[in-house]
Amino acid sequence: MAGDGYGLQGFAVPEGVEDLHTLLGRAGAEHPDLDPSDLMLFETAVIEIANNVVEHGVPSGQVRWRFTLHVRPDQLEATLSDSGEALTDGFDPTMPDVLAEEGRGLPLAHAILDKIEYTRHDDANHWRMVRRRTPDDGA
């Protein structure tokens, strides 16, 4: 029987984002009861947070990360921890103007997730992401 916990670690680079896609796909394949839409939305949010680390992590290309995912009966939970410098700009969930060409990543993740927390401790950044699953009997 498949477990409910998944994890990986590596460098916060575009290839690492591909690894996250693969891991989330595996979690979905091993949990056929998981609503594909729940997984799709959660994956979208996770990738946006990961992109943010890749794009803004300092020192660029040398930041390491550790990702953990738990498929709970009632929710999906993930943590992305990275060794980069502390986030200094804060976290603005406001969606930018429709003609803006950037700045939608974190607002998009915020719109999808039921909980998104950023903390800094032990010389690392930690993003905790939670989305409640659609109840099986909710259809």
């Binding site: 984002v17 799709m40 979208t44 990738i47 429709v98 939608r104 990543g105 998009l108």
Partner: protein, 110 residues
């Protein structure tokens, strides 16, 4: 991401597949810019083969839309899957990038 180019009734169709993300978005934006610069400001992006789009992909489409409109053309998107439709809706971009059901519909409606 793969990008294939064709032409229908004076409209350039860019058929894409794979993941439209931070890696492929700059390449797609450059392709749109080149297409407009070559005198083809009416563009349809066929998204039917896109399995995943992130906000970088959205940014490339918005940038391409602006480039096309500045050249008196337009950029339309066709046949997006569920994930793409969802990110368009959550970011309010479906207001200015209204998805067409098919490439044919996008081209015919010009």
């Amino acid at each position: 991401m793969q990008i294939e180019q064709s032409e229908r009734e004076g409209v350039v169709v860019l058929t894409t597949s794979g993941r439209f993300n931070m890696v492929s978005a700059p390449r797609m934006k450059a392709r749109i810019d080149e297409t407009v610069a070559a005198g083809n400001p009416r563009i349809v992006v066929d998204l039917s083969g896109i399995e995943f789009m992130d906000s970088s992909g959205l940014g490339a489409l918005i940038g391409g839309l602006k480039t096309a409109r500045q050249a008196s053309g337009d950029l339309r998107i066709a046949a997006p899957g569920e994930q793409v439709v969802t990110v368009l809706r959550l970011t309010n971009l479906d207001r200015i990038l209204r998805p067409y059901a098919s490439v044919e519909e996008a081209v015919n409606g010009w």
